[in-house]
Amino acid sequence: MVQLDKLALCAVLAVVAAPAMAQQADFKPETLTVKETIDPGPNVLVYQQEWKGAGSIAVFGKDDLAFKGLMASGSMGQMLVSPDGKTAYSQSTFMKRITYGDIEHVVQVYDVAKLTPVKEVSLPAKAAMTLGYQPMFQASADGKFLYVQNGTPAASVTVVDVAKGSVTAEIPTPGCWGIYPSAAGAYKFSTICGTGIFQTYAVTADGAPAGKTDSARIFDVNSDPIFISGVRVGGDLLFASFNGTLYRLSDAEAAVKTVETIKITDGVDGKWAPGGYAMMGYAEKAGVLFVAMHPDAGNGSHKNPAEEIWAYDLKAKKILSRSAVEHVASFAISADEAPVLFGLTEDPKMIRYTSDPKAGFALTKTGEAKVTGFPFVAQVTP
């Protein structure tokens, strides 16, 4: 044991010791390296939110849930991923003493392949410190601007020019919440207001505010409140209400307009309703909407995790399938013709479900991975 321990200490102190050891026998010491990039292939990124320390973006292989590593973020953060999956962003909070003292709100920009932060942008320390919700942190369709939801509690939106690494504007959006950037055309974003209207804020090419336009009343905030987690359906925006009404809206013009409303629970027994955080996903190729549903809905049940996920045909306006799931609170779906769905539970864990187009897109569990913190936002990348 004496000899072993001496050897061990030598190994620790390295340089000269290593060749000496190699001489001992027909043995080649292994070399320590840092893996340069993650294995290629499509991924699922999950924001693992923490409230007293460093949150992170976890990267899993889409096909096998192989854990590829994580990117460091701060407290009470949000995540955004570029459409090509190559760049990720977090917006989070850093305090001098972690939970008190001087505060910084920071956007971090990451090279996903290298799992490395490549840029930081300091923000006005007003960012909304909420549970993970995609509408809290968005980008313009071309990725030029990032939009950060502020809440002090007065609502406003900070506009960040990513290339310049600087803030171009703080746009007051009093009484409104959530950021829904235009999918095409000029820079603008819409937001949901407490009066039941949407407001649309134009942004110049320099990132300056350029006026706002009110919509007509879109929904009744008292009788049919909507969730802020909307999805894109074609060029339109789609929201669900606590009661299961879908609001399909167009933001193509200056003001948001209602395209149609659909009640997905009509004719279904058991008081089912949508619930959770990111509770909808739209599979564009299939034309199918997935919605996280819970039974016996009532006042206060709107955050109940799903007991079923429904596949809903938006054209035919009918339920294609209802799949029992493990208490999914948020989910993300892939863009495949047979979409793959990644559900986040409050345990917390991530569950992978494949869908079968021939069986009304019914879901089958095909994997499970451990996640940490409060994971409410996920995104699938190509």
Partner: protein, 179 residues
């Protein structure tokens, strides 16, 4: 009540709009931040919102005789999303020693099963310490609404308007009867 609310909201709006105009006139981001930061903390918004300064001086914790204040099922917690201060060295109406009471809060409407009346409950966060995960984490959302109705929203850190923004735990004060 409605006119009061309108007046307050209008003042809030005017404040936010004035900030935006001020920004347009400044040269650099930093000077803008410094200026509006000072406005918000010093002169603009906060004097409207401080619960802790409004109601006055310290007093003993409310004794709880109508339920189990350290259980998530306690009636006052019908819209509480967070860790219980009552099990973290505080009480239903007291932040734990060494923490800061939040200057703003969300409000729930909960039915007291003992008198069958609906009460308005102010859920203030206590701030400036690590999240108190020694105490139960509760999630109830009766009457809760998304952030477009901020005063009814429980997914946000209500330490947002305090100097120290770390979320520690949540209290549940009765602030009104919902008749």
């Amino acid at each position: 009540m409605i006119s009061l609310l309108d007046a307050l909201m209008e003042r809030l709006d005017r404040f936010a709009e004035r900030s935006a105009r001020t920004m347009a006139k400044t040269n650099g981001r930093r000077s803008f931040l410094a200026k509006t930061g000072a406005l918000v903390v010093g002169g603009g918004l906060l004097p409207l919102l401080p619960f802790d300064r409004t109601f006055g001086q310290a007093h003993a914790a409310t004794p709880v005789t109508d339920g189990d204040a350290v259980s998530c099922e306690y009636w006052r917690y019908c819209a509480l999303d967070g860790n219980l201060c009552s099990a973290c060295g505080g009480s239903l109406t007291q932040c734990p020693p060494g923490s800061e009471a939040s200057k703003v809060s969300w409000v729930g409407t909960c039915r007291n099963p003992n008198d069958n009346k609906d009460y308005l409950v102010s859920y203030n966060d206590c701030c400036g310490k690590p999240i108190c995960d020694n105490s139960p984490f509760c999630l109830k959302s009766v009457g809760e609404r998304p952030g477009y109705r901020m005063g009814l929203h429980n997914d946000i850190n209500w330490c947002m308007a305090n100097a120290s923004k770390g979320y520690h735990c949540t209290v549940a004060l009765l602030v009104g009867l919902a008749e």
